[in-house]
Every structure is written in structure tokens, then in C-alpha cells.
Amino acid sequence: MTPPSALETARRVRVGEVPAHRPLEEALARAREADSGSRPIHAFLSLSDPDRAQEAGVSQDDGRGSFPLAGVPVAVKDNLCTLDLPTTCASRFLEGYRSPYEATVVRRLRAAGGRVVGKTNLDEFGMGSSTENSAFGPTRNPRDPSRVPGGSSGGSAAAVAAGIAPCALGSDTGGSVRQPAALCGVVGVKPTYGRVSRYGLVAFASSLDQVGTFGASVADAALLLEAISGHDPRDSTSARLPAPDLVGHLEDGVAGKVVGIPDEYVPDTLDPEIRARIDEASRHLAAAGARIRRVSLPHTRYAVPTYYVLATAEASSNLARYDGVRFGVRSPEARATQEVYEASRSRGFGPEVVRRIILGTFGLSAGYHDQYYGRAQRVRALIARDFRRVWADGVDFLLTPTSPTPAFPLGERSDDPVSMYLSDIFTVTANLAGIPAVSVPAGSTHGLPCGAQLLSPAWHEAPLLAAARTLERSLGGEQ
């Protein structure tokens, strides 16, 4: 039984039809339900205890007043710091870790009236595309529990897809919101880099990370995104812009807009069913008044290697703070300080994290720095320029598949890093260029959810989500 939408819940709470605490209670009940039975979804690593939250220092409104997210239950990815629940990043290293401060986005969602359901499962430290890299067990795809929900924000996507919460927070570094959204059949948005504060988001790759939102509908994802957006003086990379009006523009439509389909994103090797879904999507947009055009983003094929050099380089540095000195799990046998570091880190980190730290350290190390890190930075600039040229040519949005495959079975890819990395092939470019992107459910392929991705120029979230809404409406989604 699906819960009411976030918009609807907030409306009911604001007018007093529903007491502010009720939707959270119901969400918690649904969360427990989803994990009972033979194939528990395992979307959550921890669930809220509303009675205890206040003790932990959480300030929550009383539900009266015009809060945009009044009473709305929101699932929060476990790499966002919260006061009342642990923040583990699905890593042994941070098992039980309690942050002494809250992420800005969590503070804002609470200030808007939203209620945190719990912390959702992810690939450890955000590294992965299936949520199988969690130290605490994988999450199952609610649409087919024998399959992965995608990653790294698999838990948040599953929480929304399973109807536990109408919306959720995730993080997107190379597609970690959009790809699981596509695989689970929900909406996932990555905003422009700098649109949403990263303060309190445990860093994976600082120049690529953004907090993103999931929704059962475009409207719910947009509502949550509005609530958390806007300049944060605690994040130096946060843009000096107020929160945008997104919900108000959702019905603007796409009449007169130009939609480009980049050649490189619909290669001959693309799964024909996925191609068919994208063709349908483009026809729907055309029917709604958009003009469709073929375009080219010539550096696309270098995007995945560029991403993996830069993201792992930044990650290797961001994860150096996990040394077992001030917090985290320390290995008890270590006798010398160096041993403390090595033992704590090697024990605390899973194999994918180790792999990426090694790769990232390698790309930055003396003798390889220019050839890998230096070169990748320059290719990144060229990738971003490809987009700017397309926008300058009169294109308003780009339409692409979100993922090259639908959800794959649990365990199928976990031994082949390169094939796992290639899951990100359509999503990493938006992170590299810093532009916003959204995945919208676009039918199914092989009986499994398929997502269509829309991208737009920086700061154009409002028209972008209007286009997403148009697609959603014409594809038969939420009214």
C-alpha cells in the first residue's frame, strides 16, 4: 500500500487533517514490514525513535504553521550526518559512529517540517553501483528482490520504491541517485553542483558529490529538493543563490523547447529495448511541443576513465582522515602508530574502497600525477565544454538513457570492477560538468524498470523538472 505523496501529506498535516507525527509512525511500520519475510528489502540501516530524537539534540517543529514538508517522512542516506542516528556510510570503520553535528540538508528538511524515517543503506562511502558494497549486507530491489537496487544510494531508492517513504535524500557523485532511481522505477534528481550544501555529507569526491533527492513522483522529488537547496556559508563550494522555486514551475511544459539526443548515448550496442523506451520518451516530448534534434558530445567516451581517475584521487585524500585516532574503529592489536593506521584502515574498509584508494593514490603519486590526474582534469574541462557548445547551439535539454542495463541479479557483477564502473557510463558526465540531471521512470525493459535521463544547463533545475514532469505525465505517471 503506497503512502500519500509528500505534497499531499504536507497539505493534510498543515490543515490539521492528520497529526504531524502520524505519517512517520506509519512509515516506520511499513519499514519494519518490508524487512519481515523471506526476502527483506533491507533499505534501512537504522530507524528513528521519535521519542529519543529530542534527547539527541534534534530540534523539530510541532507541525503547526506553514511548513512545506509538514510531517513528511523522509529517508536519509547513511552518509549524511544526523544527531540522533548513527552515520556509518555502510562501513565497518564507522560502525556505531555518532556525529556531533547534523548535515545542513538534514537541518533544513527538519526545519521544513520533514521527519527522518531512518538512515538508508548504500555502497560503502558511496563507492559502487549496486549497494552490494555495504559492510552490512545488500539492499534488494523492491521491484524484483533477487536483483540489486542500483547504487550507491540503493537504500534510499528502495525505500521510495517500496512505498515506505514518499521521498528520500541520496548523494550523487557519478550517478548514485539517478542510476538506482532508474533501476527501482522512481524519480531521482541530481542538482547543479553548488545548488545544495555538502556540509555534513561525508565526502567521497568533493568536486563531484552533490546531495540529490528521490521521489515517487517528480513533484515529491522537487519539493524535497526545494527544501534543502540554497546557499550555505559552511560550504565554500555552495553557490550564493537562494532556494529555487521548483514545484511552482512543474506544469510549465516543454512547448518550444529543443531536446537533443546525443549520438554517443544511443550507440549501436545499446540494448534495443532501452533504445525503444528513449524513442518513446522523445515522441512524448515532441507531442508536448518540443523539437527533437540529434547532437554530439564528442568526448563522452572518455568520461568514465576521467571520472575514475578524478573521483578516486579525491577519495583517496578524503578518506585519509579515517585513521582510528579520533573516532572510528581502531584495531586493538596494533602496537606502533603506523600499524594503528594500517590495521584500522585495512580492517575497516571493504575491498571496493581499498581498490579506489589505491587507484586514487596511484593517480596522484609522483611520476604518474601529470599523466593521470593532470590529464584527467583537462579532459574534464573538454567534457564540460562539449555541453556548453550544445547549449549555445540552442538546445534546452538532453535526453538519454540513465543506465545501460536494467537491474542485474545480486552477485552477478561484484567480481568485475570495470564492468561495474561502466554502469555509470551515461551518468558521470553530468557530475563532471556540474550540470543538473534527473531520471524519470520510462516504462520497462525485460520486465524491469527503465529510466530516461534529462540534463540541462547549470542552474536550470526549474525547466528541467518541468520537462521531467511532462514526461511523467504523458508516460502515465502521477497526476
Binding site: G57, A239, T337, R345, F362, Y372, V379, R380, A381, G434
Partner: protein, 117 residues
């Protein structure tokens, strides 16, 4: 390109990650596969690449009136310290005594900073 087990161990030491020989060999193989993929970057003509990408992307145009041009980003005067809301720094520490974080003794003399612990 193949990295080799010794090089993998050297990199692992830099990153303070402990690898036994088997793990090092496995990583070597995986890294070689990934690097073969990454080496395609060598074919790109980067001569036209501008300076490193500016992020966040510049904010331009009439849609954003009154937004100041990007300049230095400085801390606002009124910003408070995010005081440790729950307890003291030592609460999360694996080893803590009389206000200090403790680690196994470094082979060093007080006052010196021998980097590379």
C-alpha cells in the same frame, strides 16, 4: 599497463593500507585492467583544454539579478562554531585520557615533528 606487486605495495604504504601478498597480487591485476581502460585518455588532444573547470559553474544572466560576481569566499563574521553538540571530542575516541587523544608512542622526541608516522 602493469603496475607490479612492489609498486602496489609502495602505493598501499603511502595510503596506510595493509595488503598481504595475495591481496597485492589481486589488486595488481585489477589495477592493470582499470588502467588499460584509463589509458585511453592518452589519445585525447588536451591542447585546447582551458584551465581547470570552475565549480560551481558561474552564475550568469538575467535569471539571477543581484547575485554578486564570484570573488573570494570568506567566512561570515557571525558564523558560530558547530560546537560538539553531544559530548566532548573524547567521546568518540578509541583511546583518550585527561583531555588527550592517545596513540601508540611515536619514535620521536618532544618538540620534533618527524613526518611519516
Amino acid at each position: 599497463m602493469s603496475v607490479g606487486r612492489d609498486e602496489v605495495q609502495r602505493i598501499a604504504a603511502l595510503a596506510r593500507i595493509h595488503l598481504d601478498d595475495e591481496a597485492a597480487d589481486r589488486l595488481d591485476a585489477e589495477l592493470s585492467g582499470i588502467l588499460a581502460h584509463v589509458d585511453t585518455l592518452m589519445e585525447v588532444d588536451v591542447s585546447e583544454a582551458e584551465e581547470a573547470l570552475v565549480l560551481p559553474p558561474p552564475i550568469r544572466g538575467p535569471a539571477h539579478p543581484g547575485v554578486p560576481e564570484s570573488g573570494g569566499v570568506f567566512r561570515q563574521v557571525e558564523q558560530e562554531v558547530d560546537a560538539l553538540a553531544t559530548g566532548a571530542p573524547g567521546d568518540r575516541a578509541p583511546e583518550w585520557s585527561e583531555g588527550f587523544f592517545l596513540v601508540p608512542r611515536l619514535p620521536a622526541v618532544d618538540g620534533t615533528r618527524e613526518e611519516g608516522a
